[in-house]
């Protein structure tokens, strides 16, 4: 599948933003975060900016962005519509939560928790847009929503830890430990996912696509067109196996390896908390690469008609 920049950025940025919002809501309710107006402004502001930038970026993928409001109507059947509805509804508690906080009252736990629930549901809906597509075996997999959720939690905790480091070193240390646990879980899920998609083959073949298997093995003799059409450009995107292997290593190192090493240092008190900013930046970069690969490595059954493996 073609990794469209707008969607790669959207899922990464909104994942980090909603992850931040989730931990702001949950840890704020538990009284484990600073409660100053400055912290509220920056932390909640950054979270909102991240998922808002992501959502706006996703509309860049549309042929008619001005009609995006129509996407809120079909939540009964469409995960994309559900995502839109969940994203919009989440703004309600977030804006009230932020407004009350800025107006001087302490953060209201209930509003924060509502925001956290909205964040989790929105990220789950995003993942299900992909996981519900049967023609793409690398996406139609239970570990896809699992990774989207844990990746959002991890990148959100990383960002929140980096912001908190400026306000409360103890709280930042606690967040570093949380991020460490989430990062360890995240890389475990990702490795299991990579192993799963490498170890399985598509149930669909050129034989089942054409129904000509009873004659024998099916080969494409002549394609319908000489140039790449929409289908091949969009769904026939290919990445060389050797590059995919290398990029997986980079994604794992940037997204998890390096930030986790920094988090261990912070948790052990060996490095200053300011390193958390580097950890967050590195983690987000790795997550972008991981998300690019998530698209680039996915294959679609339509390529079977063109004599390729799906």
């Amino acid at each position: 599948m073609k990794p469209a920049g707008s969607i790669v950025f959207f899922t990464t940025a909104s994942g980090a933003g909603y992850g931040m919002l989730f931990w702001l809501g949950v840890l704020g309710a538990l009284g484990m975060l600073p409660e100053t107006i400055g912290f509220g402004l920056i932390a909640l502001g950054l979270a909102t900016a991240l998922f808002t930038a992501g959502l706006l970026s996703s509309t860049a993928h549309l042929g008619h962005p001005e009609r995006a409001w129509r996407a809120l109507s079909q939540w009964r059947s469409s995960w994309l519509s559900r995502e839109g509805v969940a994203a919009l509804l989440t703004y309600v508690p977030v804006l009230v939560f932020g407004l009350l906080w800025l107006l001087g009252s302490r953060p209201v736990a209930l509003l924060g928790l509502l925001g956290a629930v909205g964040a989790a549901i929105t990220v789950y809906c995003t993942a299900m847009i992909y996981a519900s597509l049967k023609p793409i075996r690398q996406w139609n997999h239970g570990l896809v929503p699992a990774f989207y959720l844990i990746a959002a939690g991890f990148s959100g905790a990383l960002c929140l830890a980096a912001v908190t480091a400026f306000f409360d070193v103890t709280a930042a240390g606690r967040l570093a430990v949380l991020a460490l646990a989430l990062g360890a879980g995240g890389i475990a899920v990702k490795l299991a996912y990579w192993q799963a998609i490498d170890g399985s083959v598509s149930a669909s073949t050129p034989e089942s696509a054409t129904g000509l298997g009873s004659i024998g093995k099916v080969r494409s003799f002549e394609a319908p067109h000489t140039e790449e059409n929409y289908l091949l450009k969009e769904m026939g995107f290919r990445i060389a196996r050797k590059h995919a292997a290398k990029l997986r290593v980079y994604a794992a190192l940037l997204g998890f390896g390096v930030p986790l090493a920094m988090l261990v240092g912070v948790a052990a008190g060996a490095v200053p908390v300011a390193v958390l900013i580097l950890a967050a930046a590195c983690g987000l970069l790795g997550m972008l690469l991981e998300r690019w690969l998530f698209f680039a490595e996915a294959t679609h059954t339509v390529v079977l008609f063109y004599g390729r493996q799906a």
């Binding site: 079909q74 929409y230 059954t301």
Partner: protein, 243 residues
């Protein structure tokens, strides 16, 4: 509404039967489809750089050619591919706007170009590559089963069939109602073992494909002279040439 409709009592299930035994791979169906639809319901069908390097355009019908099997038993099969108007059509249910819909009265899957936001999720959900995005219009386009022909009372009744069917010189394409057991399409599927593409996905395509017939004579016949068969003249020639 992009939830799938419950077919009404007596509703039709319109679709195509494509005969892979008689298709000669001439691409006339694809060309006539393009010609009709470039000015029909989903017009225009964008062509970019049509006469230059890297031409690119929207087509609803694509004709592949495959080789199946090995050696003497292999077959070359021409294979037209278009929207199968699936009963369980995920291209409809994934649509966030309701632009992609399946008609309750005849099962035709259509796109309302006025409501399409061009997110292209339906093209991802379609296993068969039936949907092509029109970059100029910013909306998704697909086979309409020539809805502007089959119900068009300005046309002669004989012409009220999809453009691909009307133009096929080999009569390899048939149009009809699969809910009517007496219809030509239902009969063909029954007699010739019409089958579904990618049945394992459970999309329940309406369109069916008829397999190539088995060759009547075994293709592995060896020259008569080597088997001792054939006419007496051939046997005499074999003896004479073997000296």
């Amino acid at each position: 509404m992009t939830s799938l409709p419950t077919p009404a009592q007596g509703a039709k299930k319109l679709g195509l039967v494509i005969d892979l035994d008689t298709c000669v791979g001439c691409h006339a169906c694809a060309v006539n489809c393009k010609e009709w639809n470039a000015s029909g319901h989903s017009a225009p069908l964008t062509d970019s750089n049509a006469y230059q390097a890297d031409p690119h355009g929207v087509w609803f019908n694509r004709v592949h050619t495959y080789e199946a099997g090995e050696g003497d038993c292999s077959r070359t099969v021409h294979f037209p591919r278009s929207c199968l108007h699936c009963e369980d059509a995920p291209c409809v249910t994934v649509c966030p706007t309701g632009a992609s819909y399946k008609r309750a009265e005849d099962g035709i899957v259509l796109v309302n170009a006025e409501a399409c936001i061009g997110c292209q999720l339906c093209a991802w959900a379609c296993a068969y590559g039936a949907r092509e995005f029109d970059v100029d219009d910013g909306v998704m386009k697909k086979c309409t089963l020539c809805i502007d022909r089959i119900y068009n009372e300005n046309l002669e009744e004989a012409d009220r069939v999809p453009a691909c069917v009307s133009t096929c010189p080999a009569s390899a394409r048939h149009f009809g109602d699969f809910n009517d057991p007496a219809s030509k399409v239902s009969q063909l599927v029954l007699e010739r073992g019409g089958y579904d593409l990618l049945p394992e996905l459970g999309y329940k395509p309406t369109n069916k494909y008829l397999p190539p017939r088995k060759p009547a004579v075994a293709k592995t016949a060896t020259p008569a002279a080597e088997t001792g068969g054939g006419s007496s003249l051939l046997r005499w020639l074999d003896r004479a040439l073997s000296r």
